[in-house]
């Protein structure tokens, strides 16, 4: 209980920091956002009057802390502002794009877990055999593979050559296949290595030998004793992998022209659409903090040592 509270408190602090950073980022911009935005919006150099009006309208004249306060107040009320272009409500925009990214992230994590756990276990159990070398080699290549290239390889193979899968967009399951493979396999590579090393480590533990000494068959030793403990760090890692997924989604979504938070962010960055940039970064940051909180709590439920001992991790 006290752990939960402590964890909640520190998450809140981090979340607060996330808002400060999100807000502060925008003030890094070298140019004058008002001018840039108006120029883009109007297709020509904005007049001074327009610039002044825009600044007043967007509250850009206030001192920065006040701007932050106002912004934070709005955010807490669920108002993320409006896009500089087209006056779209940022929250609505995010909610419109979010499902596609969630879909992609979910599918990728599923693929990753489905590949990584068996591969990592087999690799660890058959340590030093060719199975292990193949699995390790593959995952090493997977880790080293930029997913934007993998994406194009899949497009060339799966879409251009075979013509099986649609290459762009979102909506149906078929659209999900190539992007999810792209993102999922990269993540699987990382996870496989983790599962392997974690299992190898537990296989060295005395209790594994003790189980063998009790006369338990090898697969029982691995599944009932070693794997259970070995997968605990993997749980945390999957939580942390969400960061990888969200980061990878940016690129993969661009490669596959998938409307999602990634493409939204990239477009917004290029358009200097600050409210949208802030919205996406805030959403991503908050999600990440939240998911990490949840995986931590899950970890604490799964590992009796931690959940009952109440020790600090």
């Amino acid at each position: 209980m006290s752990y939960l509270l402590r964890r909640l408190a520190s998450s809140t602090v981090v979340l607060f920091g996330v808002t400060v950073l999100t807000f502060g980022l925008v003030h890094l911009t070298p140019g004058d956002p008002a001018r840039t935005v108006l120029a883009e919006r109007q297709g020509r150099q904005p007049s001074e009057a327009d610039v002044r009006e825009f600044r007043a309208e967007q509250g850009l004249n206030d001192p920065v802390p006040i701007q932050y306060g106002n912004w934070l107040g709005d955010v807490l009320r669920g108002d993320l502002g409006r896009s500089y272009y087209g006056d779209g409500d940022v929250l609505e925009l995010l909610l419109a794009y979010l499902p596609n990214t969630i879909e992609l992230a979910g599918a990728s994590i599923l693929i990753a877990v489905a590949i990584a756990i068996p591969a990592g276990v087999v690799s660890a159990v058959y340590r030093g055999t060719w199975i292990d070398y193949v699995s390790q080699g593959t995952s090493l290549i997977g880790v080293s593979m930029p997913n934007f290239w993998l994406g194009y390889l899949l497009i060339i193979g799966g879409a251009l050559r075979l013509g099986v899968f649609p290459v762009y967009g979102a909506g149906t399951l078929a659209h999900l296949v190539l992007p999810a493979i792209t993102l999922g396999t990269g993540m699987a590579a990382v996870l496989t290595r983790l599962v392997r090393s974690s299992l190898l480590e537990t296989l060295e533990e005395p209790y594994v030998d003790a189980a063998r000494a009790r006369g338990l068959a090898e697969r029982g030793v691995v599944t009932a004793h070693a794997l259970r403990t070995a997968l605990l760090p993997v749980v945390t890692m999957i939580g942390l992998q969400l960061g990888y997924v969200l980061g990878g989604a940016v690129v993969v979504e661009v490669v596959f022209q998938r409307p999602g938070l990634g493409t939204l962010l990239v477009d917004a960055v290029f358009a200097r659409d600050f409210p949208v940039i802030q919205g996406v970064t805030l959403l991503v940051g908050a999600t990440f903090v939240l998911v990490n909180l949840l995986t931590d709590l899950a970890y604490h439920r799964l590992d009796p040592r931690v959940s009952l001992g109440g020790g600090r991790a």
């Binding site: 140019g31 001018r35 840039t36 935005v37 120029a39 883009e40 919006r41 109007q42 297709g43 020509r44 150099q45 007049s47 327009d50 896009s83 272009y85 087209g86 006056d87 779209g88 419109a96 497009i155 879409a159 251009l160 013509g163 649609p166 290459v167 762009y168 967009g169 979102a170 909506g171 149906t172 078929a174 659209h175 022209q257 409307p259 477009d267 960055v269 290029f270 358009a271 200097r272 659409d273």
Partner: protein, 486 residues
Amino acid sequence: LGDSDPSGDGESVTVARPQSSQDGEWDVYGGVIPYFTGVFEPLVGTNHEMEPEPLLATDWMREDEYTWRFDLREDVTFHNEAALTADTVVDSFQAIIDDRSATGWINVEPDGVSAIDDTTVEFETIEPFPSLPGTISHNYFGVVHPDTEADDDVAIGTGPFQLEERNGDDVTLAPYEDHWDTVPSVERLSFEVVSDATTRVTALEGDDVQVAIDPPRNTVSGLDSSAETATASQRTPRTCFGGVNIYKEPTDDATLRQALAYAIDQEQLVETILEGVGDPARGPISPEIPWSSHDDLPAFGPDHDRARDLVADSSYDGETLTILIDGSEPDDRNVAERLQYQFEEIGVDSEIRSVESAAFYETFTDGDAHVSIVTLGSNSAAADYLIRAMFHSEGSDNEQRYESEGTGVMNLGAEVDALIEEGYFAESLEDKREAYGEVQRRVVEEAVALPLYYVEYVLAHREAVSLPDLHPINPMTDYAHLEYEG
């Protein structure tokens, strides 16, 4: 997506289009992009010669220097069955002016649009404005019914298509059966944003879409030779050129600028990098624009010997020129790399600076770069604003530095300013052509703009789709006349 055919009747056509930088800002139009969708119609149309022609207005006349009157077509109804009246037109203009701050653009007084009677609308302009009809032929001025509501996806216009469904920038349209002129033959027309050009073509080949706007140039010949697909192309009023900052050292020296002009091989540029899509340019104004003087302009190079001599004669002293491009345009990037290479061949160093699209225009008008690769054209019959924006001291490209530092970017000075004004107020095309022609000649001779190519517009489509003639102004391409035997 992918199932382009929700109703299954085989008569649906999906058009894959690139994202335009202005997408997502069409609240006045119910969120529907007014270009090419055919949901809205302006009072004035533009014919293939880029001249105004009647559309929702059957006729117009100039009451006095400051006043224009337009007679409305009588049998027109909106998609909600309401009749087109002068009042709705006034409301519509008011909404658009408020939203887009277009006042400066069409030069009308703040409350300058009024209904004279049920079928007559009057415009009062700030200054004498001969090209008002051409100007309001722009898609921006499609007439919108006041009930239009972006939040509820209600977009009510008078055009041959009406909105069925909107999802962000993607729209699905159905024919408007009571259109005063044309009822489209396709059952359903969808526009989907696919920003990557290669992907658009892949989708076309897979029959996921039936029309793909702007396929990558290198795919055109392949698409043409395929039995399933074909392409159509049309030169546009847009020109890509290197805008030179004539107020920045060392490009303030006309000799150096001319040397640069001699270095460029437009022919080769078009044939290779552009894969033959486009025409070598000689001036900043596309021949599609009625008063273009392309044919009368001097052609420079390529003549590298001459160019080198000019460099030697110039004040150039080994400085590194900056070539500014919009990083999101792959063509510009290639063109810039080619320019850089050719400049190097005549002994002029340069570096490429690519900025994101949002910052490009500001960087350009700030005069930071020596040469900026810009593509400019007009989306309306009245292209006057184009030459004014580029070369008049108070034109939007120059005004910032002109106001702040008394210089500008591509403005040659008072004489040219006067010529532009003369053309601007000219009542006849002849007068216009004369004044503007002189401007173009000077600009080219002084190498203020390094002409590169006139932009050509390409549509790739399934063989089963028969396209109407393409309009020079590509956003005005008339999909209402498209036919499909799916």
